[in-house]
Subunit: 628 residues, 2 copies
């Protein structure tokens, strides 16, 4: 039966300069689905544990899903995965844009990159053919310059490029991979792995837009229904109109907008950096991803005092929070400039902003002095300092050298109490969602295989208070108090996170309506399998468990499922003044989470759970660790 | 939104002669669905534990599902539930025919019967009204006579009657409840509970056939597709053509046809009692259930030496095995007569046949003598003895008095080694599927909340060797060796059993194709909920766990999750000669099953599992037991 997959996985050995193709069977696809499912499978199978994430033994995976490349909104994303240089564990980040669809149209479902090159290269894929090309002339260039050079030298402006930038070249541990210079697989340092392998970019051109579908008529009719729904869905239309930037004022109003290194939840300058401010000043256009009518991405431009080029898109909510409120900065043009620098250099805006906020708090608290900063006055709100630090981090200059290691490593180097200001879980800096406002999400940060991350566990904010149709489809029927951490909330976290892992396997957008009832129908018609939401959720669970097992193999224990001390201290102002996470409740919630997931008291998936998910082979990873 | 439920549960207090109506909310229906889900909910909530199953404190539940009464094949069944007089634990049995649909059309989803009457009564329900009527004139009558009297005195031949018979009146512990005198809710002694309450029958007439559906167009189109599929599905057409009787020759060919109290797996007279023999001799018609075109039920007739009335239908496979091969009997007319007697008196044919086989082995082994049997020569193959014992059991006469207690209790009374011949799990006699041939099903018998039962766990025979589309829809992709008891087989048992529990909540037929992908769609359009196979499977799991919790509250432990010794001894002849269940493998499989289900090492669902299923309240039951 026709099937939305190409059934081809491209394998690149950079050490040997070799290109080959794997052809997995149908059961492999049906078991691991794609995206994070492929990442977990290959990372566990092809690494042994203990590898240097920035050495040649790491592998780097780019994976699409069954719906990628179809004319379905929200579907044309891809995962990027590797052992993370930031967490030393499971690394994976998803990204939108057009590159994933292009890979599918070029005849491949995924790319596995192994080894490393002795000189900069880029990979050129066109309609079922792949070759490595010299990239010495791209090294040190911005992503925008590099993309233009590639398109020009290959003679096709429609070529799609995924790449890292000079931050990746310099192995900043939170360097990212960018699609089309503006869509970022931001988290867990995938760009640093790319840089360590001297693989600067992957350029693709694929012409086979008409994928073979199991039941094309049914699929197209379902896709059309989704497009029609998106035009009227209040969430989607609002997202399209105002972008994720809209969250700034909402988060601020409830008292949960991370401000000055998460010390506060209310930012006095919030109205200057929100969606309305953006629309009144720098917004010049909207953009989106392949086949999606929502167009939630912003394009901004400015000239003087901070030049901003619309090529690099515009800041998302996470970036406005990280480079804005969390650094105490209310200058929207400066934030937009910072966003551009991150995209041009290949830096994750979340970890970059959090690292700068960390440095600012260190400076204000006397842990860092003028001598350490080379004279930079790293006070909260100092726009010039923020922009300068972005440059320094990308180039690994001065204080940027240590900040490019991430706050966990930097705080150990700096000492003198810096660790109290280093907010991270498993080495990864938190996204801009304060767990004191959303304690369920705090548990999610603690258990995510990627450390503090909002893309592997459900945002319990809106969901808890107003149950979505998506959660209802999984049997979560009753709204919950946001502050609750009882079994009902952990159930919501478990089901919601399993669904999020499922979406990461499908590499489906977390922002557009993504109801399990409808996605099961879509996957069914795309693949020809008679699949169900049960089977898909179990694939998501498989992915979650593989990520967990990878971390266990790397030596992580229950002690790593923690949150920074700051989140157990009350917020000192705003609507959430006095609110903190209760340590005892958090510990109990963690235990409940393990129990509901079928993990043992140490947070290790049990042999029975591995058997239930038909991945007994993963036991080789979980049993490597002493005591299991 | 319109919804296939009536949102009305009829409550009958026999002690007070009172009738009332509960109106549960939408969340209740969506959480517990119907059928066995309702049974588990009400049994746990309205009993405290320790009740005498045959006393007034027991309750008796009749429950339909969301699809019952719709024009969908396989959907118009109902559950009957109570604390079981056979197992002293969770009792529940499902039944087809027309009565369930009639209850829905009369305006109710379920009936809860509490208390007991001081004189025989029957319940008369008509179009939203219910009344208790005197049944003294029905007491002691056959089910056929009783049904006729009711229809005549109420003046409507279309009235549907569910009833027990004199076996129920006499509280034979495996007395059953019959719909239309031929469809049996056979297992766990629900008829004895009915008799103990002096409720002889429930007669119904309902005229509202057009249930309000969430999306009637979608539902009707899906139902039509299912009807069309049934006309071509090889399994369904074969089932319609030959009935379940067809299994006799198949089971015999593989060496798994229970013969002479499960001593052997091959019966020399099998060809005389199979489908072909039936078709060539006594078959006079086919029949079926409401809205189902399959018509898998047989109608048989004979006159002399054994008169058989087609009114009572014809023997199913289970009956042919229980009263036939398992008693060493190859006289089809005699078996058909035995089947008629069971239906006329309200006896479960499985437990009846197994009890007679037990008595025959006891007789042959000298545990029972002529004096005990009143002169009956209880040798295997003695047709007259079998028929006589059916009468004696129903009337509780002579040896029938103790045999009517079930083999577990009878063997204790008889002593002298009788326990070795008493095949049961938790007090219930096994259906006609030898676990030595299907060891996965053996684990299913051990863990079923109802004891040895084939309706709460998957038949792993066909499924394991040839994976059905239904199992594929749950992610079971690979066929397995039948003899295997490793994690992959237990995974199949877990997923398959959860699905079977789901079907028991929907009260959907286990015999017709029942694919999770399609049933999710059907429930969605019938109810208007955006439900998924995930949510439905979790409802099924909820039902399984509630049944388990009920048994735990009644004091059952891991030690009760066992199989009779006989199944650990090798079969002595036929294709499976030398095959037995390995005790160590069985123990390990049980442990794996507990682990996969999220139950502790004692087989008790953990608090985390209860929380995950949103039934923390069930912990009151599981924690009553010391040590939990």
């Amino acid at each position: 039966m026709p099937n939305a997959y190409n059934k081809k996985v491209l394998r690149i050995d950079l050490s040997r300069g070799a290109v080959s193709v794997d052809e997995p069977d149908d059961d492999f696809y049906r078991t691991y689905i794609g995206g994070s499912g492929f990442v977990g499978y290959y990372l566990l199978n092809e690494l042994k544990g203990g590898e240097d994430p920035l050495g040649p033994d790491n592998i780097l995976i780019f994976a699409t899903g069954p719906l990628t490349g179809t004319p379905l909104p929200g579907a044309s994303r891809n995962s990027v995965g590797a052992k993370s240089p930031l967490t030393n564990g499971y690394g994976e980040s998803d990204v939108g844009g057009f590159w994933g669809a292009e890979l599918k149209h070029a005849g491949y479902d995924a790319i596995i990159v192994q080894g490393s090159s002795d000189h900069p290269v880029y990979l050129w894929i066109q309609d079922g053919k792949a070759e490595l090309r010299d990239a010495r002339h791209l090294w040190g260039k911005t992503t925008g310059e590099s993309q233009k050079i590639i398109q020009e030298e290959l003679g096709d402006e429609a070529i799609r490029v995924a790449q890292t930038g000079i931050a990746g070249e310099n192995m900043v541990r939170y360097a990212c991979v960018l699609n089309d210079v503006r869509h970022a697989a931001g988290r867990t340092g995938m760009g640093a792995v790319m840089g360590s392998k001297k693989l600067r970019a992957i350029a693709i051109r694929g012409h086979r837009k008409e994928l073979a579908l199991g039941d094309a008529d049914a699929f197209n009719s379902l896709a059309r229904r989704m497009i029609d729904d998106l035009k009227t869905d209040p969430g989607a239309t609002n997202l399209g109109a105002h972008g994720t930037a809209n969250a700034v004022m909402f988060q601020n109003a409830v008292g949960g907008l991370p401000t000055r290194n998460f010390r506060e939840g209310v930012f006095e300058g919030a109205d200057k950096i929100g969606a309305k401010a953006m629309e009144e000043t720098i917004l010049v256009g909207r953009a989106g991803c392949y086949a999606c009518p929502v167009r939630c991405k912003r394009e901004v431009a400015a000239s003087g005092p901070y030049d901003v080029d619309r090529l690099y898109g515009g800041p998302e909510y996470e970036t406005l929070g990280a480079l804005g409120s969390n650094c105490g900065i209310d200058d929207l043009k400066a934030i937009a400039r910072g966003n551009q620098l991150c995209n041009a250099y290949g830096l994750d805006t979340i970890s970059t902003g959090d690292s700068i906020a960390f440095a600012m708090e260190c400076f204000e608290q006397g842990v860092l002095t003028d001598r350490d900063t080379g004279g930079l006055r790293l006070t909260f709100g100092n726009v010039e300092a923020m922009l300068k630090l972005v440059e320094m981090i990308a180039r690994r200059e001065g204080l940027g050298k240590v900040l490019g290691e991430g706050v966990a490593r930097a705080s150990k180097v700096l000492g003198k109490g810096a660790q109290a200001f280093a907010l991270h879980v498993k080495g990864q800096e938190p996204p801009l969602h304060d767990p004191r406002w959303k304690p369920g999400m705090g548990v999610g940060y603690a258990v995510s295989p990627t450390g503090a991350d909002h893309c592997h566990n459900i945002h319990d904010s809106g969901y808890a208070m107003r149950i979505s149709e998506g959660l209802k489809a999984l049997g979560i029927l009753k709204p919950l108090r946001l502050q609750d951490l009882g079994p009902a909330k952990i159930r919501l976290l478990v089901y919601g996170s399993l669904w999020q892992h499922t979406l990461n396997c499908l590499v489906f957008c977390l922002m557009t309506p993504n109801r399990p009832d409808r996605l099961a129908e879509l996957v069914r018609s795309a693949t020809g399998w008679n699949t169900t939401a049960w089977e898909l959720m179990k694939a998501g669970e498989r992915s979650a468990v593989m990520g967990r097992a990878f971390d266990v193999r790397e030596g992580m224990t229950r002690a790593d499922d923690c949150l920074p001390d700051r989140f157990f201290d009350p917020l000192t102002s705003g609507p959430l003044k006095g609110v903190a996470i209760n340590r005892a409740e958090f510990g109990q919630a963690l235990q409940t989470y393990y129990g509901m997931m079928g993990w043992d008291d140490n947070g290790v998936p049990t042999p029975a759970k591995l058997g239930e998910l038909a991945i007994e082979w993963v036991g080789q990873a979980t049993q490597q660790v002493k005591g299991h």
